[in-house]
Amino acid sequence: MSTMAEPAKDEAKDKKALSAGARQERRLGWLLCAPAVIVMVAVTAYPICYAVYLSLQRYDLRFPDRAEFTGLSNYGAVLTSPFWWDAFWVTLFLTVVSVAIELVLGMGLALVMHRTLFARGTVRTAVLIPYGIVTVVAAFSWQYAWTPELGYLAGLLPSGDAPLTEQWPALWLIILAEVWKTTPFMALLLLAGLALVPEETLRAAMVDGATPWQRFTKVMLPLMKPAILVALLFRTLDAFRIFDNIYVLTAGAHGTGSLSILGYDNLFTALNLGIGSAISVLIFICVGIIAFTFVKLFGAAAPGAEVKR
């Protein structure tokens, strides 16, 4: 990464003014960080560059000898393909809807955990289970629950209905599975934010005549804003790469495939490395845009900011 060159430049500039102790400190700092940095760069930066390189080629794994440089044609093919756009809209829909539901539910859950009078430990433990459980396991549980003949939930539906085989019901079930699994994480992040709201400020608002709802919207929410934004950022980016739940629940059939599913299928079903890589790069760009938007819109609230202190 080009940014890695900066420390060296700074060093040359400041060298004279530094005592031996400070020089030792920065050398130790770099030494301690070096392994982590090298691993992270080698395993992400290099492959993503390699993906860009692959995406500019016609590269079909079935005919590896016929690889050739084709410029941006893979991107053209992807961006004009209805598969990409279907997957894109599905992913966007899943992301927006599930994050929105999670935010509301998570806030409720956080308030319960924050305010509950007893069994706080039990509630927190229970809530951690969806967070910790292997997504694939949860996904299978949901799949079986909605499979006619087998599942308790399918049994509640008019007989013969198989919700996972129709687009809209299936999408909502995917959202349900996502929400179940990740709301606790959202709730925990929000809970940490709630803990930052001073009890006295809430009392002051109460004395000033604020109703419970006003206390929530006018005092708590503004004070929790940094926590909410961090939680939203993490969850949005996480939801955007949704894969496990869809793979198990519908395998992307019936118009429920996300971008990650599309990328996976192109690579392992169609065995087209060029197109697959182009999809990879495009997803990377999408995520970059989302992250950039968040950081630009909310600036100081971005998770990197707090570390500076």
């Binding site: 003014a17 530094l18 005592s19 102790g21 400070a22």
Partner: protein, 392 residues
Amino acid sequence: MAEIVLEGVTKRYPDGSLAVRDVNLEIADGEFVILVGPSGCGKSTTLNMIAGLEDITEGTLRIGGQVVNDLAPKERDVAMVFQSYALYPHMSVRENMGFPLRLAKVDKATIDQKVEEAARVLDLVEFLDRKPANLSGGQRQRVAMGRAIVRNPKAFLMDEPLSNLDAKLRVQMRTQISRIQRRLGTTTVYVTHDQTEAMTLGDRVVVMRQGLVQQVGTPAELYDMPRNLFVAGFIGSPSMNFVQASLTPDTLRTPLGDLPLDDRMRRELERRDAPREVIVGLRPEAFEDASLARDTAGPTVTVTVEVLESLGSDAYVYFTAEGGPVSTAELDELATDSGLADTGAGGDQQIVARLDAATRAREGQPIELRVDLSKAHVFDPKNGTNLTHPES
């Protein structure tokens, strides 16, 4: 036990800034010395250099006759009490207090005995098996003290040990620290930003500002004969009043009125070739209610009482002197440090006088005050020197 000698001790940070400049100080064996000054004056850095927690850039530090500049804290045999107490949260009170002895490989029985002894002195016996998290602030402070005294070090170094306690407890602990120090007779260097603590605790007080020692002396010396405007303004509560004045051969023209010079002042001012524009400093007790005054010598001024605070033993009278507030670098720094700059008390110069409780001063009424010129100080506004100090 040992004396501590600093010779030309200087601390320069990597970025070139000077935290401590050329400090020369001899602390006698068993002496209780206070380093005091506003935040950033270099007092804590000086203490850390004595402890060995920061390197000395230039100069020599001797503890008990031995140069210790390059010794690790471990080899200096000093004990330190931190502002945060720095108790080890994973150890019980007993283990905390015994930790220095354990590191010194003292046998278990001796450690137990010494810890018990210290705990008895500090009234901590019943808490010995608790963790620091389960103690009150005052108890934690005592544990930190205990950890320092168990090992019988050459010196105690204390870095604002009382500033995390509430006001009442602070006064109690202050006397306890004083008592313990006297009983053990251990050389002690104590850092604080609170001038009351400095005045009540120390055998001698070192006032520092911007890395420089301003004055070293007993509390009384600092109070009665401050060498400069900074020390004058820093020591004493309520602090010294300052007014602008023009100097004529035999009078000080101040916004309060003309004050004739007495012989002592005239001599000192002449000797030092004082400038025409000066700053006059008057402690609150330099004023007296003229109607109650015991002797009738000395000039009087008539002012209008704005606020009267009766404390039973004394009465404080507040009034303003025309001509705007006195402003120099030293006084501005003091105001910022004490937070006075934030009180919005701008405008005219506030003056406070400490009068006998029998005064008949009433708010809004004029009163005649007699000024004791023998307690007045005249400062050079350019460098803050006390022009009436006999030695400076």
